[in-house]
């Protein structure tokens, strides 16, 4: 099966790019914004100012390329814990994301103009839900799509298959994006499945499946744009497999030294999605060191402002535990609420 690519490893375009220069600059900026957040989030985590954090370094293009095609107030994003980069690009405020990874409920609710469901922790459960969201959008006559992300390990779960089957049977406007990063914690893809290309699974559901170079922003973006157009036109779901690699550990508490070789990570670092996109921009005469420096400063200022904003939010209060369980407090929750307020149970 073909692997769709637009850029050489050094960023040199292999063929005509289907994006305007200003679009390419926007895409690069989105990549850098995601990377900046990831790097700084890990620092916060080490300072004890963030909870367990799942980094995505290396997977920026796979997420950003899809999110660039979505409109936050119209379309829907159902991400797993790995997709902070997609969330950032989709329009989630950085302060909310910091709060979210601080395990503060103030970060759990997306703003009304952003249709992102809080990061899913159980693997694959969001796939049938995304199919349902997509089908509901269609039934309501909205030309909107839902995008759901999942890892290679997640494709072994029943919900992945049930969700794809439902989406295909109902022609739901859905993008199912598998970030094949080679590993499910310590289990390599070869021990997860027998099939060579995850995109081949699409054949089992009668829908298009494509494998794309997940470290090539232009390729992911182009493929996703086409899938979104098909979905909006009522032509149903697409399965996109993005071949990529998570250079960083599985989470901030993981030690990849126990199961994978440093050489492997080093080899992938040479195909870094951001260096590659920068190489493309430089090749096209659109970028230089000065612009890079200005961008870096801008992103740092944005991040610091977001941290400040997150810090201003007060800690969750004990009674928030029993709030938002039901639309209204029911007798048992009311009793707990009173107790947590310092009253009698």
């Amino acid at each position: 099966m073909e692997i769709i690519r637009y850029l050489e490893d050094d960023g040199t375009p292999q063929r005509d790019l289907p994006f305007l220069p200003e679009e390419l600059l926007l895409g690069y900026r989105a990549l850098r914004r995601a990377r900046h957040f990831d790097e700084r989030a890990l620092v916060l985590q080490r300072q004890g100012r963030l909870g367990v954090y799942p980094p995505f370094r290396g997977q920026e293009a796979a997420q950003v390329g899809v999110a660039l095609c979505l409109e936050p107030a119209r379309d829907w994003l159902l991400p797993s814990y790995r997709e902070t980069a997609a969330a950032i690009t989709f329009g989630m405020p950085l302060s909310k994301l910091i709060l979210s990874w601080r395990a503060d409920p103030a970060g759990w609710g997306a703003p009304p103009e952003v249709n992102m469901v809080q990061f899913y922790i159980p693997i694959a459960t969001q796939v049938p839900q995304a199919a349902g969201v997509a089908h509901a959008l269609r039934l309501q006559g909205k030309e909107a799509v839902a995008a759901v992300f999942i890892g290679d390990g997640g494709t072994s779960e029943g919900d992945f298959h049930e969700g794809l089957n439902f989406a295909s049977v109902f022609d739901a406007p859905l993008l199912v994006v598998v970030q094949n990063n080679g590993w499910a914690i310590s289990v390599p893809t070869q021990k997860q499945m027998k099939v060579q290309r995850i995109a081949l699974k699409a054949q089992g559901y009668g829908i298009p499946g494509v494998t794309v170079d997940g470290n090539d922003l232009v390729a992911v973006w182009a493929v996703a744009r086409e899938a979104v157009a098909r979905a909006r036109a009522g032509e149903g779901p697409t399965l996109i497999e993005a071949l990529t690699y998570r250079v960083a550990p599985h989470t901030s508490s993981d030690d990849p030294g126990r199961y994978r070789s440093e050489d492997e990570a080093e080899a992938w670092k040479k195909r870094d999605p951001i260096d590659r996109m920068r190489g493309c921009l430089v090749h096209l005469g659109l970028w230089d060191d000065e612009k890079e420096k200005a961008l870096e400063e801008e992103l740092e200022a944005e991040f610091l402002a977001a941290v400040e904003e997150a810090d201003r939010v007060s800690e969750p209060r004990p009674w928030e535990i029993v709030e938002q369980v039901y639309a209204e407090l029911q007798p048992d929750q009311r009793a707990a609420w009173n107790y947590l307020h310092g009253g009698e149970a």
Binding site: T125, Q129, D159
Partner: protein
């Protein structure tokens, strides 16, 4: 409210069908789906005639996958619709437990109210009609242990109709379990037109002073029969229909026990960890001063519901076992 309307005598599955029809008619956001619910009208005909009336966009068949049915319904509810999903038998909810436990009950909580799940999952449950394996399971206790959902089990056609309409209007996810034995086993006067009955209320279906029989769903009928037999011997039993298991109307149960001093809890799921244990525990916590005897449970045995129909009636609590339990609490 109800008394002013005309009534007709119909059975429970007809009452469910009427409620679904009225909900589809009243609210364009309501959609109905599940295995065989469309063309066939459901294996028990609960959705009979609704697909021709409302079309395939509102009433449709899904592929055979319970986890996806529930997950799909969650997504549809989040995106603005009011799904009513049918699981063909409650014993087939198990493949969907991940969706139920991981998300259905906690989506409101985990998104701080940004996304909510106004959804109803209907499923037939319980024994007494000689069904194959798994078809007679009573998994209500598993569902009651999920934070964020409501669990309703009606015991009569009139209650089923009003409660189902209330469940569909409710902003939270509701499990609506319908006793298979009652589908065609009971007929009663049911008001015409649209009406709702409040969730979260237990009700006294028969007043008495000697002991309280506390039951729900298919066991209410058994308790009523037991109370009739006891009455012939001069023992007046009170019968309480729990109706909504979550949230539980504990005050009504306590009030009854305050009057009678004795309680027998009847349910057809296996005894250990069953919902009757929750009721007994609440009475121990809140009604101990009134109790003159330990609360006794009459339940299914701690075994799978027997698929061998010749003896299944030994599993399901019957009038005899209920009266034996009454004798125990009275002799204390």
């Amino acid at each position: 409210m109800i008394a002013e309307r005309g009534t007709r005598v119909i059975n429970l599955v007809q009452a469910v069908n009427e409620a679904l029809d009225l909900a589809l008619e009243r609210d364009p956001r309501v959609v109905l789906f599940g295995e065989d619910v469309g063309r066939m009208g459901g294996v028990f005909r609960a959705s009979d005639g609704l697909q021709p009336k409302y079309g395939e966009r509102r009433v449709f068949d899904t592929p055979l996958a319970e986890s996806a049915i529930v997950g799909f319904a969650i997504g549809m509810a989040m995106a603005g619709l009011r799904p009513v999903a049918e699981i063909q038998f409650a014993g087939f909810l198990y493949p969907a437990l991940d969706q139920i436990l991981s998300h259905l009950g906690r989506m409101r909580h985990r998104t701080r109210g940004r996304f909510t799940i106004p959804l109803v999952i209907r499923a037939p449950y319980g024994g007494g009609v000689k069904t194959p394996e798994q078809h007679a399971d009573s998994p209500e206790a598993i569902l009651c242990h999920v934070p964020g959902v409501k669990v309703v089990i009606p015991s009569s056609p009139e209650r089923a109709k009003g409660l189902l309409l209330a469940a569909i209007e409710d902003p939270d996810p509701v499990f609506f379990l319908e006793a298979i034995k009652l589908y065609r086993g009971v007929k009663a006067e049911v008001p015409e037109g649209y009406y709702t009955l409040p969730l979260g209320k237990a009700r006294v279906v028969r007043e008495g002073s000697a002991a309280s029989l506390i039951a729900y769903g298919g066991m209410v009928e058994v308790c009523q029969k037991a109370a009739e037999v006891a009455a012939r011997e001069g023992v007046e039993l009170e019968v309480i229909d729990v109706e909504t298991l979550v949230p539980l109307d504990t005050p009504t149960l306590v009030e009854s026990v305050a009057k009678t001093g004795r309680a027998v809890v009847v349910y057809e799921a296996m005894r250990t960890g069953g919902f009757g244990a929750e009721i007994a525990a609440r009475l121990a916590e809140e009604a101990l001063d009134y109790l003159q005897a330990p609360v006794v449970r009459v339940a299914g045995w701690d075994a799978p519901y027997p698929p061998f129909s010749a003896v299944e009636h030994y599993y399901r609590p019957d009038v005899k076992r209920v009266l034996e339990a009454v004798r125990r609490v009275l002799s204390h």
